[in-house]
Amino acid sequence: MSIAFNREQGLKSLTLMIRSRLFEKKIEALFSSHEMHGTTHLAIGQEAVHAGVSPALDPEDWILTTHRCHGHTLAKGASVEAMLSEFFGLSQGLSKGLGGSMHLVDLEHHNGGTSAVVGSGVAIATGMALQLKRTGSHNLVVAFFGDGASSRGIIHEAMNMASIWNLPVLFLCEHNLYGMSSCATNMVSVESIASRGASYSIESRTVDGNDVEVVYAAVQEAAQYIREESRPYLLETRTYRLSGHSKNDIRNYRTREEEAAWSQRDPLKILKERMIARGHLSEDDYNLLEKHEQKSLDKIAESLAKQKRYLSFEEASSYVYATGGSR
């Protein structure tokens, strides 16, 4: 139930995944050198999920993501420049420096933003789907959540509502085996979170989240089902966070052997090797692509790092209420 990308599709997907990987590494470096502040959650190792989901949607379908939102935001269409500007707290950032790394939002590309209160975003996404349905839209909403968040009651409440009201929601569980230090095997009562769909009469399926072609095909199918049947769908993608949970994670809750085993299934490596085998890519092409992406990223980061265009306190205040002002 996978599809085989043609050369053009493959290159597009690979480029996106490389861009995401390099972006995360850049963020990691900027944090370690204290050029960026706050906290950050990298999705290194999970590129096949974000590169497989949004590109398989209608551009006017919505997504709503989590604290681990960089890759999803990039894949839905935000520019590296707009994203990095937000990380630097600049006034030209995605939310003018008010949101930061855990709260990337991009309405232009139908990215409704995040909740960093893990799990809570799933209800918000379900509400967006309710409104899309009420207004006769054919679009759907993807509600991302993790294996950790799957233990929040609100997700179960949202699935039940989506089911009884026939809402166009794609519940997308990004199962990367851990919520911070907690392994899903100790925290989740079922082997497969997709199996919980049955409790809400929601169609569901588990797929390999490290294979972008598999994810892409599964999302296309799910989206078609949601539109044709007017029903929600639960898709579980099995992947692995190769990075730490957030900065300064010594990862004492898992073994280096486990990480090495998952590195063998690095989503970039899987796609790259497959494209080489198909004659769609050479090692040189890959290196060139990577170099090109790195160069453009470095250039953007360098120019933004020097900027200091911040909102004033009064400007920030004006966003507390839609009617302006803070009281």
Binding site: T39, L98, M102, V117, M180, S181, L311, F313, V320, S326
Partner: protein
């Protein structure tokens, strides 16, 4: 005496109480080998095992509810919630249940639970991880609320909170590295007592939590302008040590209340009401009671903007000087 950080002091209180009573059980997310979000529980699982350290799924409402139920049958749970902001999720078991169980059962059940969680900004973690939500809890009869600033108070108050038969909301600030000297061995600090951090005669500044340090800075600077500041660290918000506040304000005739939470509807309003509602204290006032609190805004991510949110020493100094018209 020995030097301990705020983090170590809290940990030491838990270790001593867990060793004293096996009913004292740590419950929370990632409180095992990860040591909790702010590394306060490091080493507890290794030392006490899963009988006294329970790691939970990401289920704030559920895990606090479970702790309430266990407490009703004799456990003395010390719940850790990673960020005070998630108190909104824990609010039902705390506010609708823990706070009311003793009352609604006419004393047949009690809920000896401690709810530990850190509050406050300054971390760059943006609007959903930086709030000061103590006022959610201070308006609830049946809950006790403490907010220690220093390591010594954190240790002494946490031990009292664990031994207390009622649910205690134990709020922490995030400057976990703050150090101070602490007496060796066993000690407790009773809930409900403020601490006069500094004696003074011209103005009383009343505060709690992290802003105690901001006020100390402001007071040191004010000393140069010959304003003598008395600092009251409330430590406990409910029960509130009203007598200590009133006595101080009667002496100085001026009061400034400081906290990081937004001013509108914040706990400072209660402190002001206690001051002006007491006739003798009201008559002793030489100036209106002032408040210096957080701005009316969710926490912005941008560092420069975030920094402008909580009370600064400068803002406190200005508020104090404004109470002395002739000196300005």
């Amino acid at each position: 005496m020995k030097k301990l950080s705020y983090r170590e002091a809290i940990r030491e209180a838990m270790i001593e109480e867990m060793a004293r009573d096996e009913q004292v059980v740590i419950i929370g997310e990632d409180v095992g080998c990860y040591g909790g979000c702010f590394k306060v529980t490091t080493g507890l699982l290794e030392r006490f095992g899963t009988h006294q350290v329970i790691e939970t799924p990401v289920s704030e409402e559920g895990l606090v509810g479970v702790a309430v139920g266990a407490a009703m049958l004799g456990m003395r749970p010390v719940v850790e919630i990673m960020y005070g902001d998630f108190s909104t999720l824990a609010a039902d078991p705390l506010i609708n249940h823990a706070a009311k169980t003793h009352f609604m059962t006419a004393g047949q059940f009690s809920v000896p639970l401690v709810y530990r969680t850190p509050m406050g900004s300054g971390t760059g973690a943006a609007a959903q991880h930086t709030q000061s939500l103590e006022a959610l809890f201070t308006n609830i009869p049946g809950l006790k609320v403490v907010y220690p600033a220093t390591p010594i108070d954190a240790k002494g108050l946490l031990k009292s909170a664990i031994r207390d038969p009622d649910p205690v909301i134990f709020l922490e600030h995030k400057v976990y590295g703050t150090e101070s000297v602490i007496p060796e061995g066993e000690f407790t600090i009773p809930l409900g007592l403020a601490d006069i951090k500094r004696q003074g005669k011209d103005v009383s500044i009343i505060t709690y939590g992290k802003t105690v340090f901001t006020v100390l800075k402001a007071a040191a600077i004010l000393e140069d302008t010959e304003v003598s500041v008395e600092i009251i660290d409330l430590r406990s918000l409910r029960p509130l040590d009203t007598p200590t506040i009133l006595e101080s304000v009667r002496k100085t005739g001026r009061a400034v209340v400081v906290h990081e939470a937004p001013q509108f509807g914040g706990f400072a309003g209660e402190v002001v009401a206690q001051i002006v509602g007491d006739e003798e204290t009201f008559r002793a006032l030489k100036a209106p009671v002032a408040r210096v609190c957080g701005k009316e805004m969710p926490t912005p991510f941008n560092k420069d903007l975030e920094r402008q949110l909580p009370p600064s020493p400068q803002a406190i100094i200005e508020a104090v000087l404004a109470l002395f018209p002739s000196a300005v």
